[in-house]
């Protein structure tokens, strides 16, 4: 026995030294970084003089990317915790509609409409999560049900109350509202004015706004996106709760055996996803000054695709918020870039499908490297 019980003193000769390349490969963000570099290189080469990279162009695709980012952060943390939420898109439509109904039809102050809407949306997220952990049903099915339920209400409510599917007039109601400005306002306007004066960004040549910069500030939408990405990344990688998110998605049973409150983690992630969807909805309502029943259509899938491009595994337990944010950036840049480059916009969907397939195949390969499966 003495020989056999000797622990291996040196590195195991049967394990090959891991190469730097392979080590880089198992970072979840890798796909997102490579994709981002590729996409920017492509459009810098083929669409540089189309206006895509002047101040309006940058603001254009940044805003689209920020929209994707906001819902991708929620979807990312939820997917790492081992669940899906297919009701994100419907939640966007439903939450936006609630804000419009509360503030315009019922005449509540906008701040109250927003707070009550957040409370309702997050409660529905909790209900989603509660049903999933209680019944043990796949979240795919439970949230698919809510995809239809919430979309149905988003159409039914305005139809019954106002006999139309679009409710406008939120813009006027939100005038001077402190909370509306948190979602619909712009910051750093002085800085943008300075950049306009200094000739760094374009200014209006004539008209009533002569001398003002065309892009006059950083929209709160982008601020929210950056904030959510940073907070999500810190929670996931730097806190004990983040460890529980990984554990809940990696193997719920093993996590429970180690004392991780798996059900609580999952329900909280469903609530966070609903929160992100409502942030998206509120920003959109404030931007357009109204809500439409069809808002947020297919957004759940776009969020999931951004997350998968960002390196997360569909089976849970592995992924990165930064990766998901890069996935969202790729989305925004390509969607708007094709427009700037004058390519037929339907090709965007072809691109989506292709990149999704490529990302999933890459992720499966990476998973085998991490777990040492063959």
């Amino acid at each position: 026995m003495t020989n056999a019980t000797q622990p291996a003193a040196n590195a195991d000769e049967r394990i090959k030294e891991i190469s730097r390349f392979r080590k880089a490969l198992i970072r979840p963000e890798l796909g997102g970084i490579v994709g981002t570099v590729a996409v920017f290189t492509f459009f810098l080469l083929f669409a540089f003089d189309s206006g895509m990279f002047n101040s309006q162009g940058i603001m254009n695709w940044s805003q689209i990317s920020a929209q994707f980012m906001i819902i991708a952060v929620g979807a990312c943390l939820l997917m790492i915790a081992g669940e899906f939420d297919l009701s994100v898109g419907s939640m966007i439509g439903f939450a936006g509609m609630l804000i419009a109904i509360f503030s315009v039809t019922l005449g509540w102050p906008v701040w109250m409409a927003i707070i009550v809407t957040f409370a309702i949306a997050v409660s529905i997220g909790a209900l989603n999560g509660f049903i999933v952990v209680r019944t043990g049903l796949p979240s795919f099915i439970v949230t698919l049900a809510f995809l239809f339920i919430l979309r149905g209400f988003a159409i039914y409510l305005p139809q019954t109350i106002e006999r139309k599917t679009i409710i406008g007039g939120v813009g006027e109601a939100a005038e001077g509202d402190w909370l509306a400005a948190v979602f619909g306002g712009k910051i750093f306007t002085g800085f943008f004015q300075w950049m306009g004066d200094a000739g760094i960004i374009a200014v209006f040549e004539r008209g009533t706004r002569k001398g003002q910069p065309v892009v006059d500030g950083l929209p709160m939408l982008i601020v929210w996106a950056i904030l959510l990405v940073i907070v999500g990344h810190i929670i996931l990688t730097k806190t004990r709760f983040g460890n529980w998110i990984y554990a809940a998605g990696g193997d719920a049973e093993a996590a429970r055996n180690s004392g991780v409150p798996v059900d609580k983690v999952k329900i909280l992630m469903f609530m966070f996803t609903a929160f992100c969807a409502t942030v998206f909805a509120t920003c959109q309502v404030m931007e357009f000054g109204g809500a439409g029943s069809d808002r947020g259509l297919l957004k759940e899938f776009e969020a999931i695709i951004a997350v998968v491009i960002g390196g997360a595994l569909l089976t849970g337990g592995y992924g990165s918020v930064i990766g998901a944010a890069l996935g969202a950036l790729i989305f925004g840049v390509v969607q708007q870039g094709l427009f700037f480059a004058g390519v037929e916009s339907s090709l965007f969907r072809v691109f989506l499908g292709v990149i999704l397939l490529g990302a999933v195949i890459l992720n499966t390969y990476i998973r085998r490297i991490i777990t040492g499966e063959r």
């Binding site: 622990p7 291996a8 806190t239 460890n243 193997d251 996590a255 180690s258 991490i370 777990t371 040492g372």
Partner: protein
């Protein structure tokens, strides 16, 4: 085993009935600190029911559990863990996609306070993990290495080291070697030996007599829900253990027909 010490856990006359099935019919076992107590038995002998009773999963139908001399009533496994009874399952202990360090501290994450926020203290976790793994004879490439890259034996060792680090006084190992190769088994047995020397009571469940004899101090054989007594190391031969597990006669007859290879 040190006979001057008091037993850390005493299972007295434990009976467990599931409906009409009598899984355990009055089993008594004492476990002392620093000993490796092997619980042997064939499939269906009641080993699993017995250790699940010990770890708080089942409540005994009859009998008493004394922990450190005091009678205990575990409502659920959490109570048993809090008292210092840890179970390492053959599966369901580690998460392959997570790093060794994240696994090691899963559910017990160290935190450091920065301003109003509490953060996962990765430096401390990494340092402790590397140190504990080195003690157990596992050389990691780094604390961020995924558990999935470890062998089955190494995973068992990480799970054992984790249980001991977090204060287990009684460590129940549920067939830790049954799915392992020869060398990995040797590593796990070496780990059991190290843990025992730290004063932890190890309850080692197996149906492999050779594995049991390699590290065991005392041996209790279960057969059809009853104990056939506890024997000291050196007072029993492998053949006797084997016979007791199988219930005697049939295996002797079988062994003869196979030329003594069972």
């Amino acid at each position: 085993m040190n006979p001057e010490k008091a037993p850390i856990i005493q299972m007295q006359n434990i009976a467990k009935h599931f409906g009409r099935v009598i899984a355990l019919a009055g089993v008594s076992v004492d476990v002392y600190p620093g000993e490796c107590h092997c619980l042997l038995g064939d499939n269906g002998a009641g080993k699993s029911t017995f250790i699940k009773t010990m770890s708080g999963v089942h409540k005994p139908t009859k009998g008493q559990i004394l922990f450190d001399g005091k009678e205990m009533h575990f409502a659920d496994p959490r109570d048993a863990i809090a008292a210092g009874i840890a179970t390492v399952h053959q599966h369901l202990a580690m998460i392959p996609l997570m790093s060794v360090s994240r696994n090691f501290f899963m559910g017990n994450e160290p935190v450091k306070q920065i301003g109003p926020m509490k953060f996962f203290d990765h430096d401390y976790a990494n340092q402790v993990t590397m140190e504990e793994m080195r003690k157990m004879g596992i050389n990691l490439r780094g604390p961020d290495q995924a558990v999935g890259t470890l062998s089955g034996g190494e995973r068992q060792t990480v799970a054992i080291a984790r249980a001991v680090h977090f204060g287990a006084k009684v460590l129940i190992l549920d067939e830790p070697t049954s799915a392992l190769g020869v060398r990995q088994t040797a590593n796990v047995l070496a780990t059991i030996d190290k843990v025992r020397k730290q004063g932890v009571a190890v309850v080692f469940i197996t149906h492999n007599v050779r594995h049991a004899l390699a590290v065991g101090d005392r041996f209790t054989v279960l057969n059809r829900g009853q104990t056939l007594g506890t024997s000291q190391r050196g007072q029993i031969t492998p053949d006797e253990l084997q016979d007791m597990m199988a219930g005697g006669q049939e295996l002797v007859a079988l062994e003869d027909s196979l030329g003594g290879t069972v």
